[in-house]
Symmetry: C2
């Protein structure tokens, strides 16, 4: 019944690829590195968007939309930004096609060459800060709290569906503030929102931390992030929030008049999460039978499968089920009654397991006699027979329990696979087992690079809430004040 | 108080441009033809999206996402589609930049040339039908009812903010069906949805009709559309729904096995509306003082402006207002209490008029004594003093009345400016007055072209619901069975 899904232990990577395809989440397109997000996958993304968008708006942010194209010269304005982003980009050089004189379809019209090439946005700091310059005159225009839902393109050589694609969907927040303190608070606030979303909606525990200088966003003074652990023990960066200092303000000359009348540069932040979260969601919770979705993000939360022979039986079941469906829908539960008579119950059970529907309710003729239904939980794969009276409340309660249980399972897994490591020998052994290694580091980029070269592990972050502790760097033995998170990562 | 807005009668075109800018809806960007949709404008677009998306989902459609890029060769697969769309496109030829060896920023890396150029989608039929080929095997996979919210690019030489921009936002529906009849019904259903949205949400009366062969979508067998009249008497096409026949199915070899086991080509439709609707909304209702927004799409439906001197007075007013705001919000009304003490009431009144806030409530110390408020309607510019008791219900009722009144005003305007025309001399006079001319036409493209050359008027549509009537073509005198809508257009 596993529809030919490889198991996680056989081949985790292949399991993921096949699951994405077989559960109808997404597929690769004819354009290398660009994916097609299919309706089932997209409906999960829509739920993510809605939840995040509500949180952004509750904290005073407004959505806007900026151009897809960036003039090439804009990228060069912020010195370290250009190093990070003006590399693997989609470059538009022409604006017209014409019929091939040889009759072979269409060719690029050489006469329609752009004076300045345009880049498809890899991120929008440059185009947005060039607007901020016109939007900000006085302290009364601040803060600017802008978010954009958009597609971006980074030409990736090695792509992986949802995790690393040339085109992806995301939101990018861009804010401007009168003071450094306010911009730092915004950076921290958005990290908290991402962590809350990951934990409460995705059922995904995350470590909140600070990136080392090596891993910082190109153009930022400080990058905060949330890091999650996948079931193969690898880390996945699930969201970042950048304190930009006055870097972009200076690059794009964005100044404001403060209350005393003096002209000052503004302070900036940017922050984003992307369809990469879909990859994290799939990898964190699913099993060898298919997707396991937290109820809050499941497109179908409850499926009701009638067990019947012939129309007459189906009608009787449908009559019993109709008021339950109605009452659940009125309470905001997404419920599907699958009365398709072309597929057998067993096939349907496997299909909804594959698709990660949190609760499956089966109801047959004997259930009608006994006034019961059979309820199957996707997360625990347990079944129970339950009285029909009060079934709606029971189902809703169970959805809550599933949400909690999925989170707890992921948290337990992370706890088991997070290890303190105190010597280099130990590091070399433990890193092969996967998971997060909490180890001392001497704070230098050299050591970080060397550890990466030797083990492929990087510093995922310097945790924000970990205790200070005197220690010695796991590689060099030099003094350290805090353990950091090492892991191999996606 | 008009903030320097030109009047409509002075210069309609300039009035529109300035209004878009001064009301903070959108602005031009550094990239020619690409606009920036500012938060106030974007929040109107979000309301449009939500209402449309709900209607699409209620009729069984699902959202998905397809790649931004289209391989050049895809465009050539459907013969008439390539004629229509493979012209003014953004063409990606390279995928990498590198540092300029001369030290002047970045340049295109000549070694990173794509084997096949990619086109930024001008519309997604080709990329979507190449997926449909893999999604459809049997009648059990049909219908496919897909919608996508996306950005598209058509390189426009003469651009106009919201109305014709190189990049714009839209939704594009793409469906595949087992029978011709079903696809035709889908085409008609989506036109009805667009008409309903225009009339009930945008307060915009529309003529539902069929495009002539000249104006048909490239690749369609039939194009239905809704046409609205702007205040200058010009027509604006507000949405289109295309019956694609089996054209794309044949071009992309999309076949299905029917119940008898025979292989058949599927039947297709596509349909779309775009940020052009923002232009229609602005042009249809606004006046010389600024925007006039239908309450259902207004980001702020009610603004409450306190008239006060000093903190003590403000506090008293705020106390009185707080429960009203709370109760309105609980009823889903978007309400703002503007307690800014840096701007005068008169300035605020003008500002909210400019922004098209449907209802303005002013409350001062005398109002507190009398237990009244002053209510100003944006659509009629009338004011009245109203008792505070029961104010919430009264405000909500008034919002409904404003929605109806704006629609009625636009409908009356259209009725006054729609004229039956029976001779060529009359046509030449009336077309200069603007509006819709209902005239007989002999059904040939030649006559249509000639009328366009002579008068710049095109056939906006052959109305779906107009009576059959024997007559003679207004230009050639040849026989005709039905009047069609002629107008100059955006
Ligand atoms: Zn981190
Ligand atoms: Zn029409």
């Amino acid at each position: 019944m596993s529809k030919g899904l490889p198991t996680r232990s056989e081949n985790y990577s292949e399991w993921y690829n096949e699951l994405v395809k077989k559960a109808d989440l997404a597929e690769n397109s004819a354009v290398r590195g660009c994916m097609i997000i299919k309706p089932y996958g997209y409906s999960i993304w829509e739920k993510m968007q809605r939840a995040l968008d509500d949180m952004f708006k509750e904290t005073g942010h407004q959505n806007a939309y900026f151009p897809l194209f960036i003039p090439k010269s804009f990228l060069s304005k912020e010195a370290s930004h250009v190093e990070g982003f003006a590399k693997e980009c989609a470059v538009i050089t022409h604006y017209r096609l014409k019929n091939d004189p040889d009759g072979n379809g269409v060719i690029v019209d050489p006469e329609a060459k752009l004076e300045e090439e345009l880049i498809v946005r890899p991120t929008s700091e440059t185009v947005i800060w060039s607007s901020f310059k016109n939007w900000v005159q006085s302290y009364r225009n601040l803060p600017l709290l802008i978010n954009q839902w958009a597609n971006v393109v980074r030409w990736e050589m090695r792509t992986r569906i949802f995790l690393r694609t040339s085109e992806f969907l995301w939101q990018e927040g861009h804010t401007a503030h009168a003071t450094k303190k306010e911009a730092e608070e915004e950076t921290a606030q958005m990290l908290e929102i991402y962590a809350k979303f990951a934990e409460e909606w995705m059922a995904l525990p995350v470590v909140k931390g600070r990136k080392t200088a090596n891993e910082r966003f190109a153009g930022a003074d400080d990058t905060l992030c949330i890091e999650a652990m996948m079931q193969d023990g690898k880390a996945l960066q699930a969201g970042t929030s950048h304190f930009l200092g006055q870097n972009f303000a200076k690059a794009f000359d964005v100044k404001f008049q403060d209350k005393s009348g003096a002209l000052e540069y503004v302070w900036g932040t940017s922050w984003g999460v992307s369809t990469r979260l879909m990859g994290a969601l799939i990898m964190a919770h699913s099993d060898d039978l298919g997707l396991v979705l937290p109820p809050k993000l499941a497109p179908i939360q409850i499926v009701i499968v009638p067990i019947f022979k012939g129309d007459e039986q189906l009608e009787k079941i449908a009559e019993k089920v109709a008021p339950i469906v109605k009452s659940l829908k009125a309470k905001g539960v997404s419920v599907k009654f699958d009365d398709d008579d072309q597929a057998r119950p067993g096939w349907k059970f496997a299909e909804y397991e594959l698709k990660g529907v949190p609760l499956r309710v089966a109801i047959g003729m004997r259930d009608l006699e006994n006034n019961t239904v059979e309820i199957a939980r996707r997360d625990t794969l347990t079944k129970e027979t339950v009285e029909l009276d009060g079934i709606e409340a029971y189902l809703i309660e169970t959805l809550d329990k599933i949400q909690e249980n999925i989170y707890k399972k992921a948290l337990d897994f992370r706890t088991e696979n997070t290890k303190e490591v105190n010597s280099w020998d130990e590091f070399l052994v433990k890193i092969e087992e996967g998971g997060f290694l909490m180890a001392h580091w001497d704070g230098t980029s050299e050591t970080e690079d060397k550890i990466k070269d030797l083990t492929k592990a990087t510093i995922r972050c310097i945790p924000l809430d970990s205790e200070m502790e005197e220690g010695k760097c796991v590689l060099t033995g030099n003094p350290s004040k805090q353990r950091v998170v090492f892991a191999r990562s996606y």
